[in-house]
């Protein structure tokens, strides 16, 4: 079944239009953002300045007698070192003077002499005594916008190329995408590198002036991320151009909205995150370190393999955590669902709603309540132990007891979800199969093993696989209940990453951790591919 090429063109053109719209939006926002910028100045590389010492806008005068490269420079001893002054000024009320008006007057006064270029901008400041200054400051090299537009342009060209060269198939499309991604990402990384170099230079230069702040540095990772947009479009278009059969086009139409939305909102931050993993963050600046972060993590920083702070120990704990939790969730959820789906059971609606409560109540407060219940002196669990004659346990003092506390809390939080999924999945099994088995005199266990389990798999497997991915990244419970005690041993990979990012301020390192988490999970999912394939065969 062939299709007229002309009919099939509208989808690629639509994505092209979409892409252009994004670019235009970005252009507009970016431009406006830079224009409205009103940073305080650094005092460095001031090209030109004017001052109005009595606050009247039209009395703006050129600063001829004052050195313009170090505006703030008063050798007189001051009571407070963080208060600055300007020589030769008088008191005045800054509230009377308007930034925009100042800039206008300045421009008018210096019309002949001012050469407004892309690389400088005007800054306005006020002294403590009320004088007002307008200065033209050299901003230096700014490559921020280049990779963004470069990336989109490159992507567009390649998209057009793919469109023209039809029938290339998905593999060529992917190759093309990779080929485009390399220069784009490389260019973006170079730009980021350049940006960080620039920031570093400026920061060092500014540090010698009295306490003036470093200029604002745009987050290079954001730029890189947006350059990854063409990658998305590449894959979309590559798949599209392959389709000739109308049946496939229907499929793509159904799939496209979700795929494009997901692609945009997940893939772009993902690429940014990956880019960050190659950098080191220190006080606001990002520097390129290549694979150093990964090397440090994988060599577990010199700790022995079984040391709680070693990466491999945490990895083992995470895997164990995931496995045990998933088994418990599915086991309990399935058992409850089996009981609660019997039509002859009375009040089953009531039971179901009550059992969903752990999922419904916000986990922030319930996790803390569980933590309280595991308290050594005043917790409920130890109280019950005391009543039945067992020794009270110091739950958060030992690895296994703290781990048990975490598992208990997470199981309590997680089984309702599995129960609901099983309730839904059990409905897909035709009732007459059970009836036929009853006629044959099969036991309950045999029915379960040979009818329920195999037929449950396709509907249940997604929950199990996704559930294990979510449990692997379950941050809340570990952080709130045991908080890694004792001594970081119950930390899992995601809490380690969080600590690096938000407690140690090392975003690059945390991003490297996240990439490793991702790779571990990816290999796990490739393994599960075979299982899902087998499950699909059950229904043919």
């Amino acid at each position: 079944m062939g299709v007229e090429p002309r009919v099939g063109l509208w989808m690629p053109l639509a994505t092209l239009a979409f892409c252009t719209l994004i670019g235009a939006v970005g252009l507009d926002r970016y431009g406006a953002h830079v224009q409205d910028e009103q940073l305080t100045w650094s005092g460095e590389r001031v090209l030109d300045a004017m001052v109005a010492s009595d606050g009247s806008v039209d009395r703006l005068q050129a600063l001829d007698g004052i050195k313009v490269d170090r505006i703030v420079d008063d050798p007189a001893p001051r009571k407070y070192r963080f208060l600055w002054s300007l020589r030769g000024e008088e008191a005045l009320d800054p509230a009377n003077v308007d930034d925009a008006a100042l800039v206008e007057v300045y421009l008018a006064a210096r019309k002949a002499a001012v050469v407004r270029s892309e690389s400088d901008h005007l800054k306005v400041a006020r002294t403590h005594a009320g004088a007002v200054l307008v200065a033209r400051v050299d901003r230096g090299r700014d490559v921020g916008t280049l990779p963004f537009y470069g990336g989109i342009l490159l992507g567009l060209i390649l998209c057009l190329g793919m469109m023209i060269w039809r029938g290339t198939g998905i593999y060529s499309a992917l190759l093309g995408a990779l080929a485009a991604f390399v220069p784009v990402a490389g260019g973006a990384a170079w730009a980021a590198h350049g940006l960080t170099l620039q920031a570093h230079e400026l920061a060092t230069a500014v540090a010698s002036a009295t306490g003036l702040q470093a200029p604002f540095v745009s987050n290079p990772a954001g730029v890189i991320g947006l350059a990854g947009l063409p990658l998305v479009l590449m894959i979309v278009l590559g798949i599209w151009t392959r389709s000739r059969a109308s049946a496939n086009r229907v499929a793509y139409t159904y799939l496209m909205p979700a795929a494009v939305g997901m692609g945009l909102l997940v893939l772009v931050p993902f690429i940014v995150g990956v880019a960050l993993a190659f950098m080191r963050h220190d006080m606001g600046t990002f520097t390129w370190v290549g694979l150093a972060n990964f090397g440090q993590i994988l060599s577990s920083e010199g700790y022995g393999l079984t040391h709680p702070l070693s990466f491999y120990f945490t990895l083992a704990v995470t895997i164990g955590w995931t496995a045990i939790n998933v088994v418990l969730h599915v086991g309990i959820g399935l058992a409850l669902a089996l009981v609660l789906q019997r039509p002859t059971l009375r009040f089953r609606g009531v039971y179901r709603v009550l059992l969903i409560v752990p999922w419904a109540v916000p986990s922030y407060i319930t996790a803390l309540i569980w933590k309280g219940m595991f308290d050594k002196q005043y917790g409920m669990i130890n109280h019950v132990f005391g009543v039945i004659g067992l020794e009270p346990v110091a739950w958060f003092n030992g690895f296994w007891t703290a781990f048990t506390a975490n598992v208990t809390t997470n199981t309590w939080l997680g089984f309702p979800f599995m129960m609901v999924v099983c309730l839904g999945a059990l409905q897909s099994i035709p009732r007459d199969l059970y009836e036929a088995a009853d006629v044959d005199g099969a036991s309950a266990w045999a029915k379960f093993r040979h009818i329920t389990l195999p037929l449950l798999k396709p509907a249940l497997l997604p929950a199990v696989i996704l559930g294990s991915v979510w449990t692997f990244n379950m941050f809340n419970v570990i952080y709130l209940v045991s908080n890694g005690q004792p001594h970081h041993s119950t930390d899992i990979l995601i809490t380690e990453a969080y600590r690096w990012a938000f407690e140690q301020d090392r975003y690059g390192y945390a991003a490297a951790y996240s990439v490793i988490i991702f790779l571990v999970l990816l290999s796990y999912s490739l393994l599960t591919q075979r299982v899902t394939k087998a499950a699909e065969e059950a229904y043919g």
Binding site: R126, G211, F216, L309
Partner: protein, 391 residues
């Protein structure tokens, strides 16, 4: 096609909600009474500065810092915001804050406690005006203790006597593994967290001695329970089972309905003769570097921190204001007076970004040394190793 129609419908939802830049935007994380006090102060400002409208936005504390760091560079941030001082170094290094060196003058600065202003200074630039401060002091139960102790030896003796009289009572309690609560003893023994040059000094001799001191109180003198949480402290104190508590002004909120307790400045460490110096936390009002209305923003900051506003907050809200001119006779009460005395013996919490790396390793070290019997020197050295991790 139906799908296109659905997208069109969703696109319509993008309408409305334009950001109004005509107003001055103020972010804060206040709750309850403090939020109401702030709102009325802001309305008074609007009345005095005609034409200026202020929009208050309350942001949850947990999300505040993150939201600020992403919003300001994009131009979506506030003009002025109220926050604790500990992230100033971070934000200043990234260029998010406007230095006030050219705005403020000496007579303005003279009004505040100098330590509170120092907290807002990073690399010789001032980044905000202090509104209020928080620090730790010694709460005690008046039915168990007649006179507040002046030295730690007195405090321990009193605690032991109370314990001996009734074994269900405890002498002293505070979260043992928190560096924030341990800091008074650390500074009282002459130690510090960072020495000059950004080098962690937690493994130095004074720090080790301070940890040994606490260990002694828990295991030998047995006046502190072994596992302490803040919820436990509250319930024990309310049940009159606790003589002394090291805690901050927020503790008053938890003691509602409870009476016959008082606050005093922390005692002097007998071993060294140095006063126990807690960390000082300052709540300041800060100006965004990307604000388009800096003059108005600064005017708002001046208004909120001026003396008569501070007096109102002090007398009606009991807030520990940083404006020392506000503490005239009759403005505060015994509670605020105790903290006012304490602030003179408080150490500003460093606002440098490296400070954030301290907390978890220090917590590990304190819990290991005090609650699990690891020798203090070893535990603290491990903490220093952890702090320098990733360098």
């Amino acid at each position: 096609m139906r799908i296109v129609a659905l997208w069109a419908f969703l696109a319509l939802l993008t309408g409305c909600q334009q950001q109004n830049r005509e107003e001055l935007v103020l972010w804060h994380a206040y709750r309850g009474a403090e939020a109401t006090a702030l709102t009325s102060a802001v309305r008074r400002f609007e009345a005095s500065a005609d034409g200026v409208k202020v929009r208050l936005v309350s942001v949850p504390y947990d999300a505040f810092a993150n939201k600020l760091s992403v919003a300001i560079p994009r131009g979506n941030g506030p003009d002025v915001f109220i926050y604790a001082h500990d992230r100033i170094g971070d934000w200043a290094a990234r260029g998010l804050l406007e230095p006030l060196g050219l705005w403020a003058n000496e007579s303005l600065i003279d009004q505040f406690f100098l330590q509170t202003v120092e907290s807002l200074v990073y690399e010789d630039a001032l980044y905000g005006l202090p509104l209020a401060f928080k620090t730790l002091a010694l709460f005690y139960d008046k039915t168990l203790v007649d006179v507040a102790p002046r030295t730690t030896a007195e405090m321990v003796a009193q605690a032991k006597a109370i314990r001996a009289a009734d074994a269900s009572r405890w002498g002293l309690a505070y979260p043992l593994d928190s560096l924030y609560f341990h800091a008074p003893w650390l500074h009282g023994f002459g130690g510090q967290v960072y020495s000059k040059g950004d080098e962690p000094a937690l493994a130095a001799a004074p720090a080790v001695r301070s940890v040994a001191f606490t260990r002694r109180l828990v295991h030998e003198e047995k006046i502190i329970p072994e596992e302490v949480t803040s919820a436990l402290v509250t319930s024990l104190f309310r049940d009159r089972k606790l003589a002394f508590v090291v805690n901050g002004p927020w503790f008053r909120g938890e003691l509602e309905g409870h009476d016959k307790w008082a606050v005093a400045p922390l005692p002097i460490v007998s071993e060294t003769g140095i006063p126990a110096r807690p960390f000082l936390g300052v709540e300041g009002v800060l100006l965004s570097a990307q604000s388009l209305r800096k003059a108005d923003g600064y005017a708002l900051m001046r208004f909120l921190t001026r003396t008569d506003e501070a007096k109102t907050r002090l007398s009606s809200g009991g807030q520990l204001v940083a404006n020392q001119a506000a503490y005239v006779k009759g403005a505060g009460d015994a509670f605020t007076e105790a903290f006012r005395q304490q602030v003179e013996q408080a150490v500003p919490l460093s606002n440098r970004p490296h400070m954030r790396r301290i907390w978890t390793p220090a917590q590990d070290a304190l819990s290991q040394a005090i609650m699990h019997g690891v020798p203090p020197a070893e535990a603290l050295q491990e903490a220093v190793r952890l702090i320098k991790r990733g360098d």
